[in-house]
Symmetry: C2
Subunit: 567 residues, 2 copies
């Protein structure tokens, strides 16, 4: 797997990885993308190379679909619990076991790469490559979204400038601008200053690109014309008479679709073990559906016997949205759900401080297991088998691992230790075996709600059946919005809950499995093109900031193109 085998061995000998992620990725043997495409079963006219190690896919003929595995997680620590790493490692393990498997992941956002962390493509021996490219511009999908989003914004302001034929109220324009940069100074801005020829002065702001409704739309579209129709439906603002104004009325859906004609095609890369990987789309997991594109998952399902995919944050957020928003469009439920847990996240949920998570602590672990139990219950209610993957860290003790396994068995599941970070696919062979067996089930998928359920019913079911709370409360603003949404017939769309990832409740400090809580919904947001309503609890940051010492200060490149600091 490595150009220089000794690099790998030095790690393996100690059971741990001695190299940084970017060192592993840059020293890995990478297959030409043609070979990966061939392994995936693509004909030469079904992919277009982007560089020697990336490609975009357009299937030319329909195939029968294989089985689907969703990887989700318990409530995480702020450092994350290695969901992508397990997803990659599990797919590698399945292939090692002779099962034709592909992995389908989200694309990383470049803003955070330059901010807090270097990369988001798995870790250790379970990574997708080319790591640097995927973390930077990749095949340009996010840039195309940024361009299309901002072109629409410019067209809206131009419409104001050119006599405002649509009678848009400048104070009620809801379409902001976006950049794939962590730039807090652009959150709240005044635009259109500088006189008559430079626009109409008004308040506005920038979100990060992954928060764009176009991102949600692109990743929920079934084809180019579905994309165009959804773009037409986007509500960009309201008239002086409070009537909604759509992109269709502005007459530019065609141009925006043209700008996204390549971004809609799924991207093919590979894992360190040359498992074909589709990486496509990256919608936020709080204000959007938080999972890779419908088209990429559909493509993987058609190409492989097993597709391993993941959803953002914990099962309460990404898992629920995967089941209730993506599945109805994809038209296929997961055959198995894998819930990633770590000893340290369970201890964190059991009340242990972040500084002491590496110390053995069966008491905190025991206390934290109620978090696992509730996530298990939430996923089990959809009717399909749920397995637990314990993503093992070197500091975990065997007793701690055994305790989780015992607990899972008592809660209608089975827990499997995985060591994919240090061992790659080799570290998840047992889980792979269990996934294969569990996938062979005849159980029916049980959706949480029906499409024509009332908005209130959907909300109540999410809060009670997924979060384990008592109910919800709409703030006056949200109540008023709901009246408007009902008047326009928008209330029958699925709900996207924008909630903290650290708690089942809307209070990030309520770890573990809080009881008897109420979810407070401050405000609603219409995403008419994406086809859902966002219910905002608390403040959701849609434009991150940079830390005191940004990752950009560590990243560098030499004359040979070797990159450092990208971890």
């Amino acid at each position: 797997m490595f150009k220089d085998k000794s690099l790998l061995l030095s790690g393996r000998k100690w059971g741990i990885v001695m190299l940084s992620d970017v060192e592993i990725a840059q020293n890995a043997e990478i297959w030409p993308i043609d070979r990966v495409a061939e392994r995936a079963g693509l004909t030469p006219d079904e992919f277009e190379p982007y560089g020697r190690d990336k490609a975009k896919i357009t299937l030319q003929k329909k195939r029968a679909r294989g089985k689907l595995v969703l990887v989700t997680a318990i409530s995480p620590t702020p450092a994350g619990e290695g969901k992508s790493t397990v997803t990659v490692g599990l797919a590698d393990a399945m292939n090692q076991a002779g099962v034709k498997t592909m992995v389908a992941l989200r694309e990383p956002s470049m803003g955070p790469v330059m901010g807090l962390k270097g990369g988001a493509t798995g870790g250790g021996m379970a990574q997708v490559i080319p790591m640097a490219d995927i973390n930077l511009h990749f095949t340009g999908d996010f840039h195309a979204l940024t361009s299309a989003h901002n072109t629409l914004a410019a067209l809206i302001d131009n419409s104001l400038q050119q006599g405002n034929p649509l009678q848009l109220n400048p104070r009620r324009i809801v379409w902001k601008r976006v950049l794939d940069v962590n730039d807090r100074a652009l959150r709240h801005i005044n635009i259109g200053l500088g006189g008559m020829t430079s626009g109409i002065p008004r308040e506005s702001g920038f979100d990060i690109t992954v928060a764009s409704e176009l991102m949600a739309i692109l990743t929920l579209s079934q084809d180019l014309m579905d994309l165009r129709t959804r773009i037409e439906r986007i509500v960009i603002g309201y008239t002086y008479d409070n009537e909604p104004v759509t992109v269709a009325q502005l007459g530019v859906a065609g141009a925006l679709t043209v700008m996204l004609k390549d971004a809609i095609k799924p991207n093919l890369v590979q894992t360190l073990e040359h498992t074909p990987a589709l990486i496509h789309g990256g919608p936020f997991a709080n204000i959007a559906q938080g999972t890779n594109s419908v088209l990429a998952t559909d493509t993987a399902l058609q190409l492989a016997d097993f597709t391993i995919t993941e959803a953002g944050f914990g099962a309460d957020l990404g898992g629920e949205k995967f089941m209730d928003i993506k599945i109805p469009i994809l038209g296929q439920a997961p055959d198995v759900v894998v819930l990633v847990a770590t000893v340290r996240a369970l201890k964190y949920n059991g009340g242990q401080s972040r500084e002491n998570l590496q110390n053995p602590d069966l008491k905190a672990l025991q206390a934290g297991l109620k978090n696992l139990a509730r996530h298990l219950q939430a996923m089990q209610r959809y009717g399909k088998p749920v397995l637990v993957a314990i993503n093992r860290f070197v500091t975990d003790t065997d007793e701690e691992v055994a305790l989780i396994q015992q607990f899972a068995a008592q809660h209608g599941s089975q827990a499997y230790e995985t060591n994919v970070w240090s061992q790659g696919g080799q570290g998840a062979l047992k889980l792979a075996q269990a996934v294969q067996e569990a996938a062979d089930n005849e159980q029916n998928f049980q959706p949480l709600y029906q499409a024509d359920d009332a908005f209130e019913t959907k909300l109540q079911k999410i809060v009670t059946e997924i979060y384990g709370g008592r109910g919800y409360e709409l703030a006056p603003k949200a109540q008023q919005q709901l009246v408007t949404f009902k008047a326009h017939g928008w209330d029958k769309m699925p709900v996207v809950m924008a909630k903290t990832q650290y708690s089942f409740s809307d209070d990030a400090k309520q770890l573990g499995a809080p009881e008897d809580f109420i979810i407070h919904i401050r405000e609603l947001e219409l995403k008419n093109g994406a086809g859902f309503i966002v219910a905002l609890t608390g403040n959701v940051l849609t434009m991150p900031g940079l830390p005191e010492v940004p990752a950009a200060n560590r990243i560098d490149i030499d004359a040979h193109g070797r990159i450092t600091g990208l971890d």
Copy 2:
């Protein structure tokens, strides 16, 4: 050349093109990029495909350089005079004549594509393809520049937010933000609003991406490390003590270079006649050097016996900057200069109104020829042969063409009729023959000024020897800036004149060849990374706006991916 030959024939029969540019481009037979690369003499490890019809080039071994031909033009009408079209057609003609020739052009900016016009890749039968891709995201170079530029901006505002360790004066930050969108509402904005956690309030704005100093830098860099060094030199603002602050002090040149690691590689595409074409970089021709990258031109020179390249606007702007800014870095002067003239632009310069340019008018033409004479003189002073290409329109009469030819012969040149729009390379065979012959000269290149000439000397020479004016005047602000620049030793860099393209003078209404004028320099701008000083005359718009009915309202796509409205 066409998939459906009847499409071509219907045009050829009438001597004119019956199809729109995008119809021609989408119906053209396109070679797989591997075949184009092979024709260009690239080994398989010297290019990376981007899709099936685009590639990025990294030469692995040095070759001897061929000859260089610069295509420039007389003062244009607002519609443009077909300089890119002639450049493409001439290269096709050279190849038809059996001379191994490549073309090196700038990349179009997407903002204007969605605004006033659909495309900028030549026209009629003399185009580069894939036309839609080149006009949209292409290989992502502009997006990489936008990202790197805005990441730097975010890092600057973050430095202010995090205690301002560099003591930057928020009112003296000169690094703005950019988008490749025509968005007048972003010209003047207030950022950092919304309280303590969302930045420091200050005035700022957005330019269009092609106006970014990073664009000028990327296209003047000789390699990745030169790029990094230039980025380090960028002055982003001044301290409270008026000391300049550079990117080096911010410590992020490495990260920005990483973001541009692929953008620096020249892009390979083809003309309709499969001539290998390098399209790379697109700096403004007023506030920057206005020509494609040094690396792309160098690459073409090494691959072909003849490289045909162009420079933006007229010879007074793009031509002068090519000679005085690009050539010293490239290290090779053009062997021949081709000056594109049209009958209608000459009539326009002779006082005819825009509405009547298609009517025969020998008197206006005669009057306008003084514009041609002055451009001829300006280019001839560099010592190399200058030929005139008459880009013929169907409304031009034979008498008009003959008059230009007679005039050129009287002014030390020769004029050749070209019909590349309707005939492709076939329409420029005589010009191709003349270029070949003229290139066989031993004349020395005579630079306009020396690197260590004083700033004032450089300015004076540009105004008198190129524009034919009497001299220049520095406004008080510019005088004051020059004192500062001298104190920092910045005054020895070349001058980039930001001037109207419609006149030799700084008054767009003074057509033809005005006499005895003074160039008024309002303000200077330091581009320390790019390595030049911009001298601003009048107002230069660095962020265009959209028209009343933008091109975006006409552009559309169907379920088969066929694009309309992109002309």
